[in-house]
Symmetry: C5
Subunit: 363 residues, 5 copies
């Protein structure tokens, strides 16, 4: 149990929940820039080794996607800010590890900040993804953990199913947000399974750490909620008509993502309620256990106390010369009579307990 | 108990709560297309075996209802999309098994997604129903389980009580949504009965699985709530003036459905509160039980401990030659005196317990 | 207890909570139509035996109130619908036994649906009242149980305090709704008394059925809430300026009713909180009881265990010929010494318990 | 405890929570009318003995404050209504003992209903205050208990710090409402102290009536909340620009009162949470106590049971002629050996319990 | 424990939660005025010893920041009010120790009231900070405890990173509010650590004061919430377009502060939930403990009761001359047989308990 909790704690630190925590001050690694430029005909993927080529790429392609893997490469970020005219505050918002999902208009582009979900050593972790959507470009900032989430979209473009040159950058943005939101579904499915296991345990086998595990589930749900509620607002805003840089088709797509987020939130709220129900069930099971223990104790005390009293009675040292003192002691079958009385008492008591249902259902 | 839970789980899977779950990947069966065309005079029902006849039917009848039983017949869906100009995203929304109720305008039609309720092996299951309402047509997508819900409307049309040719497709849509919403009432009525049984059990006979059954009720209520809350929003939107494709008369009808949904939600919230009250009552009953057990134990220990002490006292082996050591042992009626003292003590204690009310109300 | 619950259940059924329940399918009785026509000078009350006279009455009086006692007299309802041009849906809304309070504009009139409260065999029941307010007429639909609520208004008109011919139908409607809302006050006052009794019981005398009675109070509060919350919305809408058929004076009156409803809701929410506090107090009292029982058990066991041990010690059969084996047994005052030791131990223990406060406050 | 509750109940009745309760039907006493008229130069205070002088006073002074002490003097109220053109409904609203705080525009004036707080025999009571604010006059209706609250304002005017003739009636109204709101602060401060005492008790000394006292605090908080929440709305409305009869300067003042109300509500909600936390702490303390009792019982039973068994063992009457039967009995130091064994067992057990921490921390 | 609570209470008093509390009536100390004037080129810091120089400074510098340390220096406040045309009500709002965060427009300036957080002897305390933002000046009122919060901004200006003469007073205001909000992060981080410690304790080692410490955490969270929620509204208002005295650049900055506040509130709500989960876990751990104690008691009683019965049986004084009375007593190996039976019973019972898992997991 303790190990589990310690692990969680570590990963929580790593997740960078609190900006000022020293754990986030790791030495920055150089960012990887993946460039994908499209015109009406085709798309070309390159990994930019020389950031200076950015400006040229921007003017060459009608639609361009720059995917920056690594949030803390200062020079690269500064260059991007310069080429695409992104202000410092906006850049900081997109590259802070614990940024809350939000949507903001910054002059020539839209900043969309969301969070991608993954399992890290059983605990749920969300990583920040920052997107700048302009008229003809999309820039995404993310760290290494979020690689797989975007790879699917990349393959879709490679396969030609999506023609970026025609659809535009807003469509690409919708595809990526769709991938981000869809990434939550398997996580929630796993939650459902964890809760089902806990349900069985809480009722049939209320072990000592069940409550700790329920608490883990609830903490994870809180992490998810903190990521999903503002995401919902972001997608709602993207699906409205007034948002700039978003065309009709992409808007429809964003609205669809919004519906998915609502489903996720519905599921999540359901899980939250189930988890608090489980806690109550667990406590009731504990009570039931205590009840069983108490009943066993009571049965045993109740059966043996009269028996012990009888043995004590015939163990008294009264002068048996007197015919009035404990006459049974001198009776040849005295102890048999005493035994018979004891058996009778025991049978009567066991019968009474049986009728009351106390002898059934021992765990 | 375990069986019950396992059954629930299975059915929950079948219900397709989570889109990516492998259980939903069953092999698709061909959809059944029921066509109902009406003009001012009469209606004609046919089962379309050749989907190619769709376009002809569309142009022939002033009002047409196409009822598609089966959500996953790709070619049929594609054909419908083509004939009635429905986009891919819209079609997908209407045929996803776990779609959340919603209302959306797609070019030439309105997409209304709701959920129909039924009992599956004691657990509550909701099935998706997708409706496309156009100026002159209504297309409904649903799976096999929802058959009975629409049959009533069909018979109403057959009997001539409703003249579709005059009322229009929006009126048909209102009739169908009315049938969907009314289907929730018997389900909630059954809930009321379940809660009444649980009420009796929780107070009089707090068995071990009562809490599990209360939990089942709460999970079912959550399923209902997830289906009904967005349905309420859908009906609210349909009852407003701005919604296209909906005439005055149908709007009135939708508002009526909305009122029914509000009643359902009121009932449901009431049941939710009752169920959490029941949980508390159950726990209190458990506590009462424990109290009874403890009282019995205390009564027995309290009665026998002094008696056993007295027998121990006269069982000591002091030298009775001395007149100061346990003189009663040599008294001819000694044991009778001891017995009398014991009886007195017992009577006094029983009286004390009686006055305190501990001897009444054993379960 | 069981009886109480069974009674409640019966009455709940009678109340017609669920539309499809068979209990509501009682054979319809003919409705009683009371007509009250007023002109500027005077009012005339008649009981309409011939419904055909309705149309004549309508055209004769400037202001007319038709009070229909009985909700399910089909022909009468149909005639009223025809004379006053009320649509079928509207008529159905006004005469459904379990209608939720609402306000709706139907062409030439306003439908106001509210619920009147009464005690039925200790349980709280609410009966539907439907009012159609037109420019010059008011039609009220209600069943027998709601008779007394309207009789006060009738007498006020008879006494001439209210001049309907001048005030208009909207004023009459306000008077009637005022009577409906005021009917809730004595019910809530009775609630206050019930809660005070429960408060005493929960603290001083936590009997076994206190929790059941608290649950009854909560269920009744839920019934009230279901009736009052939508009533508040109805009165809020009637007090706004835009509502048709309502003049300035009546609007002021409706706003007053709205304030009363807010007071009722405040009270009700207070009672809800008190009732859940009481539940916690009750459970704590149970715990206190258990604590007392445990303390008694512990005191007795603690006092007698050492004593019993000493009697056992001197009851051992060691060979007392040896001067090392239990020398006290041969001492002439041995048993007195043993008794003295026992008394000392007992006194010491009782003193310790007394200091700890365990011997006070037995229930 | 019981006395406390009975007192509360009495005072709650006196407070007139429920309009129809017979306790409020006390015989009306004549109202006292205090008149304060101001012009640009000075103010004059008189107690009106002849109500007929009202009309003259109204026309004489540019700004006039009529303070009516006593709510139920029918003739005086009627006269006021006539002189200042107040309608019947408005008058009734201002003089009902259990009026909910509200703000309403009635033709020539504004009705402001608020509630003043005070302690009545330890319980919190709120008294109604009704204010009519016109262009040049302010009329206040209140009962005897609220005297002190207004006296401060009166002295401020006497001292010349406030020049009513220049500031106008709206400023006077703001001063009075300020006095009403500020009266809540000492009450809440006292709450803070009560909660601190309860905090100590709940943790260190969970006496039987702590829960009852927590419940009292919660009931009082509910009374406060019922008075303060609508007051907040009233002050919010008075601080908005559209409200008639309120000038810029007074508006600023009302906004300040509004801020104070928000602070009060913040404090109150905090106290509510603390009180429910205290309840949980109290219950946990009870559990801790039970735990201690159980541990004591277990220690005693565990220590004495083996000892008693040993005494029983050597108290058996086996034929000690046989060398195999209980040889120790014939050993000269037998009982010393037995005693040594017993001491060993006891020491081992006590050590085990000590290590487990059971022997520390007895209450 | 008691000490902790008493300390808290003292500091709570010092914090001046309640305006009328006597503790706040400390003798006023003279305020320290720090002046920072900037033009396009450079900034100059001085400590004003002669308040009369204020007016001159105001006219000399294009942008001026007057930082008043000490809230209750009447003459200085009056002078500031006069020079910068601040009304009395506004000044009072800015210098009240328990002012709630708010934003208000007062003629020529904006009043922004917020609260700075710090630890005082382990408890969380918030100190008021009042800012007046005019076109060309910023005045801040605060007490000594808030010194460090502003020093960072001052150093930033000294280092030339921020050019106040160009950015304007609104930018300075944004920097200061940023510092205030960022001050909450380390406090919340410490909260996270406290909760983690409590998490360990609640599960593994539910000591008696854990609940008191959880309660402390919750009280502190309430203090934070009371400070942060209205701060959020203030920053939301500052980030909107309509607010006067705020330029585009500062507005962006305020919006960023708003995002940080939202993050803080998210974290805080999470901690609140965790703390109430911890309480439940703690109570469950207590229950578990009780369960263990009961099981131990039951095991011991169950093992020894039959053994003691057997010793009692063979301690009875039946006449062993009769071959029917307790024949074993005369058997040479009788006591060995008895001992064997006892061992058998003990082994059987221990095995039963082992199988049931009762002998594992003693704490």
């Amino acid at each position: 149990m303790a190990t589990r909790r310690h692990r969680r704690r570590r990963s929580r630190r790593a997740q960078g929940r609190l900006p000022a925590s020293p754990a986030t001050a790791a030495p920055p690694r150089p960012a990887i820039l993946r460039l994908l430029g499209c015109d009406g005909e085709r798309c070309e993927e390159t990994t930019l080794t020389d950031p200076a080529a950015l400006a040229a790429a921007r003017s060459r392609w009608p639609v361009i996607w720059i995917d920056v893997e690594g949030l803390d490469d200062g020079p690269v970020n500064a260059l991007l800010g310069q080429v695409f005219e992104i202000g410092d505050l906006a850049l900081e918002d997109a590259t802070t590890p614990d940024e809350r999902p939000k949507l903001e208009v910054f002059g020539h582009q839209l900043l969309v900040a969301v969070r991608m979900v993954r399992f890290d050593d059983e605990a749920i972790v969300t990583d920040p993804v920052g997107l700048f959507l302009g008229d003809r470009h999309l820039i995404t900032f993310r760290d290494r953990h979020t690689h797989d989430g975007f790879e699917g979209v990349r393959q879709r473009i490679r396969s030609g199913r999506t023609r970026l040159g025609r659809e535009g950058a807003d469509h690409l943005c919708a595809l990526l947000l769709d991938a981000v939101v869809d990434g939550y579904f398997p996580v929630l499915e796993k939650f459902g399974e964890r809760l089902e296991h806990l349900e069985d345990d809480a009722i049939d086998n209320p072990t000592r750490d069940a409550l700790g595990r329920i608490h883990d589930v609830r903490t994870d749900l809180m992490t998810l909620r903190r990521a999903l509620w503002p995401t919902r607002d972001v997608l709602h805003a993207l699906g409205r008509e007034q948002t700039p840089f978003v065309g009709d088709h992409a808007r429809q797509h964003f609205r669809d993502c919004y519906d998915h987020t609502m489903e996720l939130l519905d599921l999540m709220e359901g899980y939250r309620e189930i988890s608090s129900d489980l806690r109550d069930i667990y406590l009731a099971s504990l009570n039931n256990r205590m009840n069983d223990v108490m009943k066993l104790l009571t049965v045993i005390a109740t059966v043996f106390m009269p028996l012990t009293f009888i043995t004590g009675w015939y163990g008294m040292n009264f002068d048996t010369a007197s015919p009035w003192n404990l006459p049974l002691l001198r009776f040849p079958y005295g102890s048999l009579v005493a035994a018979a009385v004891m058996v009778l008492i025991t049978v009567a008591m066991v019968a009474a307990f049986w009728r009351r249902g106390w002898l059934r259902r021992w765990h």
